[in-house]
């Protein structure tokens, strides 16, 4: 009972979800040993916790620890978990329903999808004849999702980008806590912004500068065809357009050309580009349809292409992971279990099958890293000595690079969202003994700005910081079975040209090598 009261103290401040807000009626909750009894008015039951109004204030009690008596007690067998998703169409159309179906299949629940219109549907899950969950979906933009989360008309927001400062402020003002807290968001799958053209367009590669010129209308004609370029884009206010503005146009103080052909969803955009040899657009990698992805090539010649691996390693600069944001209040037990399922291996298979890039770690042997070595040799010169190059190639020998890579928010020492998640992923793998009797080397690299010696120091510091964070998160791991070491090579082995901030951002990183 003491435990139950501790629970009460901890959760008293939290409000219960919109689900199962029952009629206010009298209940008595008795501890299983009968020692303690609390009476009051039931405010809600979420499948796991009772929330009651008592003389002492609002208490939240673990349903497993108490017995409920009185007219207000919920029918435990008739309890239906109700919660809803709102936000990015790109996530709500295929990815999230596929994951819910996967979760349902694992639990032996039957799935019924009830379509209310182009923007709304409900997924009902039944255990035999009994409904166990009713999950609502509202499809709009990422911003709509945050709006619904703030208005408490949705329980989970689907977002193609992180919450913007104004959204974080509004949430705080509304008493909904800190949306930038890592506990409030999670990455479901990985994705990226990629330039696309029709298959019969002869173009194969493009520079970021040229993308900016195309999208802003500074260049309006295809050079090779001497024909006008048609720019295709998603509707204004959609998450992907916001990303394009934030990541590609705004840094160069540009805006999207007026008169672009707008599309209601990603499939329309991809189909529009695929069907028009004069078209150019930016799409999500997970839905380029029958169009062709262009490789990014910088002025220094290093190619970057969005692939499953380059997304996992964040080596591609315009990564656009898919987020879920949850409120500070408690969601129904079923919803929480679903969110836990999302990080498991089965969900990763569903994500892959649905055509998205999952977060399963991969390892790449040195032999598969030829381009990186060429980059390293090409970058050797004034700042990177031959001795340093030799040290790098020696260190690489016999190692594999994990796709788990850590990158930082623009110029800061703060990890970006995907990397922050990687700390936990790696820590869990360490705890599970996945790297027992192996050595994990955290290898720091920097951009080429500033002196080589200072960069090397900075790179080592970052690598140590990441190693320490992983060690701390993996508190249940056996330290005697794993070796976590640190190395640094500063600006040797760049991955991207450094003509712009996005390139420098790709180069500032901590890689993880396994030996």
């Amino acid at each position: 009972m003491i435990k139950a009261f501790l629970c009460a103290a901890i959760f008293a401040a939290l409000s219960i979800g919109t689900a199962a807000r029952g009629m206010a009626q009298d209940v008595t909750l008795t501890s299983r040993d009968g020692a303690i009894e609390v009476g009051g008015t039931l405010l809600g039951f979420d499948g796991e916790f009772y929330r009651i109004q008592t003389d002492f204030g609002v208490l939240t009690l673990d349903g497993q620890g108490v017995l409920c008596s009185g007219t207000g007690c919920p029918d435990l067998d008739a309890y239906v978990a109700r919660f809803s998703f709102s936000g990015a169409r790109s996530m709500g159309e295929v990815l999230m329903p596929a994951l819910i179906e996967g979760f349902a299949a694992r639990r032996g629940l039957s799935v019924q999808r009830s379509v209310q219109g182009a923007d709304a549907f409900t997924i009902n899950l039944h255990d035999g004849a009994r409904m166990v969950a009713q999950i609502g979906f509202r499809l709009g933009s990422t911003a709509d999702g945050f709006d619904d989360l703030l208005a408490e008309t949705a329980d989970i927001a689907m977002a193609l980008r992180e919450a913007r400062p104004d959204e974080i402020d509004r949430a705080r003002t509304a008493g909904l806590g800190d949306l930038s807290d890592t506990a409030r968001s999670r990455i479901v799958a990985l994705d990226a912004l990629v330039p696309i053209v029709a298959r019969d367009n002869p173009l194969r590669e493009i520079s970021v500068a040229r993308i900016q010129e195309f999208l802003s209308g500074q260049i309006t004609e295809w050079q090779a065809q001497a024909a006008p370029i048609t720019i295709h884009a998603r509707a204004e206010g959609s998450g992907i357009q916001e990303l394009i503005e934030d990541r590609i146009l705004s840094p160069a103080e540009l805006t999207l050309v007026s008169g672009a052909q707008r599309h209601a969803d990603d499939a329309d955009l991809a189909d529009g580009v695929a069907g028009d040899p004069l078209a150019f657009g930016m799409a999500r990698l997970s839905d380029i349809g029958n169009a062709r992805q262009l490789t990014l090539r910088g002025s220094c010649g290093m190619p970057l292409r969005a692939t499953r691996r380059s997304l996992k390693a964040e080596d591609y600069p315009f990564a656009a992971p898919l987020f879920l944001y949850t409120p500070a209040r408690r969601l129904p037990l079923f919803a929480r279990e679903f969110l836990t399922y999302l990080t498991g291996p089965e969900a990763q298979r569903v994500i892959h099958r649905a055509g998205f890039v999952n977060q399963t770690r991969e390892a790449v042997a040195v032999a598969g890293q030829g381009t990186r070595l060429l980059n390293a040799i090409a970058a050797a010169g004034e700042d990177v000595s031959l001795t340093e190059l030799k040290r790098l190639t020696t260190a690489l020998r016999g190692t594999e690079r994990l796709t788990t890579t850590f990158r930082f928010r623009g110029g800061s020492t703060q990890l970006d969202a995907q990397s922050a998640g990687n700390i936990a992923f790696l820590a869990r793998a360490l705890e599970a003994g996945e790297f027992d009797e192996r050595e994990l080397i955290f290898v720091g690299f920097s951009d080429g700005d500033g002196g080589a010696a200072a960069n090397l120091r900075l790179a080592r510091k970052r690598a140590e910081a990441v190693r320490d964070a992983v060690k701390k998160a993996a508190y249940a791991a056996d330290p005697s079975r794993i070796r976590l070491t640190v190395d640094a090579f500063g600006e040797a082995m760049p991955m991207a040209c450094e003509e712009a901030e996005w390139g420098r951002g790709v180069n500032r990183r901590v890689e993880v090598w396994r030996r």
Partner: protein
């Protein structure tokens, strides 16, 4: 000798009862991967409870009478066994005849055929012995050629099931039915349930089933929804737009150039289960790309403003097909003539180049 024979009767009766009972209860998911990989047929005779109670020679007469296949005047629902009248010609049998029939049956069991013939003592109106079997064999493009022979069940309604797929069909005047069904897995099990409770089953090995990606849409009664596939950006009405009115060609699929739609179910039957299955080769002889799969629902005076239902089937994580019920609120009757397009209830197919 007499004792041994009656024991054999008892043994085979219990076996039949157990097999049939099990089949009736588990028709949907009866066959596991450990079943024989070659085509197998099983006769679906009904065994009744009284047989199990009496094991003596006296039990032989009811045994033979009740195991003779027959069509029923009264449709039987579910797997509840009801008594019913045989309406085909049955020749009265002497005890000697019956012993001979028993010997034939027992030797049939000994040969391991799994096909139990009741001695050919029941005949249909053409004088052919009653026989109820289902045979399936693999065809190109991951298809199964299914043949149901129920010579004493002419014009009989049956439901054919494979994985989560289900459709209604009817035998012809000779009690025959031939239908091609797409296989959802390399070892495919099929069952056919007649309304009199007879259940037939077959397993067939379809090696190239896994080379085809499939999705399906199925419904009961009047079809409102249609499955549409747009292959590699094919516009409406063009080649590569595959749907019920342009179902494509299996030959094209065999050449890895396109997909095809299989229409299943007999719409002439009342409240028939109908299905559309779209198949596409996983690897194609051209650039990789996407087949957009959608479900369309034209708004008609009959369905406007109403709720319509169907079921979707698409590959699940475990390898089998995953089904989901689909319920759709049709727009009001001012929208008659428009078509609702559901682009995402079925996932698009991402096809890799071979």
């Amino acid at each position: 000798m007499e004792k041994r024979r009656s024991l054999l009767v008892a043994g085979s009766t219990i076996l039949i009862a157990a097999v049939v009972g099990h089949l009736m209860q588990n028709a949907d998911r009866y066959f596991s991967a450990s079943e024989p990989a070659t085509p197998v047929t099983t006769a679906g005779q009904r065994a009744e409870a009284p047989i199990l109670r009496s094991l003596g020679v006296g039990a032989i007469t009811p045994l033979l009478a009740s195991t003779a296949p027959r069509t029923s005047a009264e449709p039987v629902s579910g797997d509840v066994a009801l008594p019913y009248l045989a309406d085909e010609l049955t020749i009265p049998q002497t005890l000697t005849d019956q012993r001979g029939a028993l010997a034939a049956r027992v030797s049939g069991l000994d040969r391991g055929h799994g096909t139990i013939q009741p001695g050919g003592h029941a005949y249909n109106q053409f004088g052919h012995p009653c026989e109820t079997t289902m045979v399936a064999r693999a065809k190109p493009a991951g298809m199964m050629a299914v043949q149901v022979t129920a010579s004493c069940k002419p014009h009989a309604r049956l439901t054919i099931s494979h994985d989560a797929l289900r459709f209604s069909a009817q035998t012809d005047a000779n009690g025959m039915l031939r239908v091609d069904v797409p296989a959802f897995s390399a070892t495919a099990s099929l069952s056919a349930a007649f309304r009199d409770g007879t259940i037939l089953s077959a397993i067939v090995r379809v090696p190239d089933a896994s080379e085809y990606e499939r999705v399906a849409l199925q419904w009961r009664d009047q079809g409102v929804m249609q499955l549409h596939a747009h292959e590699f950006g094919a516009p409406n009405g063009a080649r590569g737009h595959v749907w019920a009115k342009a179902p494509g060609d299996v030959a094209v699929a065999i050449n890895a150039k396109g997909g095809f739609l299989t229409l299943l179910g007999d719409a002439a039957l009342p409240a028939a289960s109908m299905a559309e299955v779209y198949s596409f080769p996983q690897f194609v002889a051209r650039d990789s790309g996407v087949v957009r799969v959608s479900v369309e629902a034209p708004v008609t005076p009959a369905n406007c403003g109403r709720n319509v239902q169907a079921e979707t089937l698409q590959p699940g994580v475990g390898g089998g097909m995953q089904s989901a019920a689909l319920s759709l609120d049709m727009p009001g009757c001012d929208m008659v003539g428009e078509t609702l397009v559901l682009k995402n209830v079925l996932r698009d197919m991402k096809i890799a180049r071979n």
